[in-house]
Symmetry: C2
Subunit: 379 residues, 2 copies
């Protein structure tokens, strides 16, 4: 082959460095995660989703004034244009949440200039608008699917509170809002994961922010990336009770089944996000006086650690949080996307600021120089 001797490469680019980044430090060997140099533990304890998003996009923590301005900007941009709502209404209500969200996000792109013709500020501005609109697209999907009237976003509510409000029509209690917010904060960013890397490839052709978000949604849709929470909840439903956990896991391991929400490509120890979200899951379960799901997860965690030295990932306890918040489990990937949109935009901007087309080579292992046989002579 040209330019490429028969060299070693890692399948799935595992362990392969694909670029520089200043967005996220992720050290899977010691379970360390930082957004823009700040420890996830500090951020989770102190910041809401808007503050995290500001940090990811601008590379620094906002002042009180900055945060107020930024939060207002997000709140003001939540509504979808009428034609997008009309588009969503034209879709069959058999479509799933990511399909509808992606169609809406694609439709939002109305003659968007390619990246060559936009400044960084204009790209950032588009990104902020998209982050603001993701929850609205998700909630409108849910309302329309269930024959309910879409609920217009409420400017006075924060990002997490407003999403819960657009889903149910009621302002949620503080525990619920905090749990939703925490879930968003912990899912906002995670270095060169599959969707984020594909977002960067999209921008690397000098495509646009809307296209990047479409790619993000399309890649996240896969069950090896987004959508683990619904798998966890399905498993919890099959297990049924805490007493049955040991038996279920023993059987599953004997049959070499994968246990949903356990293990991660990068982490070789406890996923720091899972540690934080476990606490949130416990609290929201206590506030709802419904410990069953949390306790099953806790027991599975203990068992998997003992049997396989494998740790839960962030989606494991997301399942409990969504259950307690009354969110439909089939919206897990859509909710993940609401959060990850801020990481996607941060990486899109970083890629754009120092771009080089991302275009690898393949190692060709097929036949070479075959003789062409005319169609009449083929068998």
């Amino acid at each position: 082959m040209p330019e490429q001797s028969i060299e070693e490469f890692k399948k799935g680019l595992e362990g392969t460095v694909a670029g520089d980044s200043k967005v996220c430090l992720l050290d899977g060997s010691i379970g360390k995660l930082e957004y823009r140099g700040y420890k996830i533990e500090d951020l989770a304890a102190n910041c809401n989703f808007e503050e995290i998003t500001y940090l990811l996009l601008y590379g620094k923590l906002p002042t009180k004034h900055d945060l107020k301005d930024f939060s207002r900007k997000l709140a003001e941009r939540r509504q979808l244009p009428k034609y997008v709502i009309k588009t969503m209404k034209a879709l069959p209500n058999t479509m799933n949440s990511v399909e509808v969200m992606r169609t809406a996000i694609s439709a939002l792109s109305n003659n968007v200039e390619d990246a060559r013709k936009l400044t960084m500020d204009q790209q950032l501005d588009q990104g902020i608008t998209l982050i603001a609109q993701f929850p609205t697209a998700a909630a409108y999907y849910y309302r329309l699917k269930n024959g309910l009237k879409p609920i217009r976003p409420k400017k006075k509510l924060g990002h997490a509170a407003n999403f819960l409000y657009m889903m149910s029509g009621n302002v949620a209690d503080d525990y619920s809002i905090r749990a939703m917010d925490m879930d968003f904060v912990l899912h906002a960013e995670h270095s060169f994961n599959a969707s984020t890397f594909a977002v960067r490839i999209t921008i690397s052709t000098l495509s646009d922010m809307y296209s990047a978000m479409n790619t993000g949604l399309s890649v996240l849709k896969g069950p090896l990336h987004g959508g683990a929470a619904s798998g966890v909840m399905e498993m919890l439903g099959q297990i049924g009770s805490v007493d049955n956990v040991n038996n279920y896991i023993d059987n599953a391991l004997a049959n070499k089944q994968k246990i949903m929400g356990i293990g991660h490509r990068v982490y070789r120890t406890y996923d720091p996000r899972a540690r934080i979200l476990k606490k949130t899951a416990r609290e929201i379960s206590q506030s709802k006086n419904d410990m069953k799901w949390f306790e099953m997860c806790d027991k599975i965690e203990e068992k998997m650690l003992k049997e396989k030295t494998l740790y839960p990932n962030v989606d494991f306890y997301s399942a409990v949080v969504y259950k307690e918040l009354g969110l439909p489990m089939d919206m897990d990937t859509a909710i993940f996307a609401i959060a990850r949109s801020s990481g996607w935009v941060a990486h899109a901007l970083e890629q754009y600021s120092d771009n080089r087309l991302i275009r690898p080579l393949d190692h060709y292992i097929g036949p070479v120089d075959l003789e062409f046989v005319p169609i009449e002579k083929r068998k």
Copy 2:
């Protein structure tokens, strides 16, 4: 960093092998391109788009019987469901071709199961349907944008002929059909280009074929990948006449401007597709008795070879072909996507058949362990 010492890596994964593949042999150093082991020159001289697509998807050339069956299958699946046409009609006619096509392709995905739950045959079947529907989505975009009634696909026409028919309402002459077909054949596949690699990432999360096509469109939309033909035609418009070519290029090179359609990341010699399409461009120009655009391109090619030892890529002569076919130049990326959809499906199937999540690492170069400052104390 974990798992990654501070190692060398190539920006944009240039020259980096990202996986095995049997779809396409591309040796840029000697200008060699083969689909499934067959030389592009043999394929272009003998096969239409349907035959090429069969070869890419099944890994072998079809018999007469196979090709007839496959062509009929494609022809029977061209129509879009009514709700998708309704969705397209809800979109503003300011949207560009890729935005509308992508929204339509996204909307076609109606509760599609993820890859875990589908067999290879089911995935292939979805891929064939999508390849059949791409031209219809593109042509309907054009008709609706211009206030014209969409034209239903004609089963008796081949893939290229039917696309031209759905655009204009007339069955094109043989020269035009052959030129369109040649353009499709030459754009169908090109190893791990940016869109195809992102398609493989999409499938690697076990997402689905529809999501993969959405990613493909979003990545191809960038002017460093799709859409070079419109850039070439814009340049030809600025140059105005053959006499002005030398002057224009001298000026552009002095100002370090990029010459559209010249040069390629992988080819270090003549792009074999450009060589073939140049002949097609000459023939269609002769048949229309309109040599101006072809002659300008020919002159630019000669000049760039002399000045910079750079060669035209396939999009360079696509511009002339689209011009002579009367296709709107702003549909260049949409037309590219119609052709490339078959390569995308072939790679999606290959990725699915031996999957590993594509998830690289980044080289983190940002700040580490910053002290968290409470918001009241930030300046």
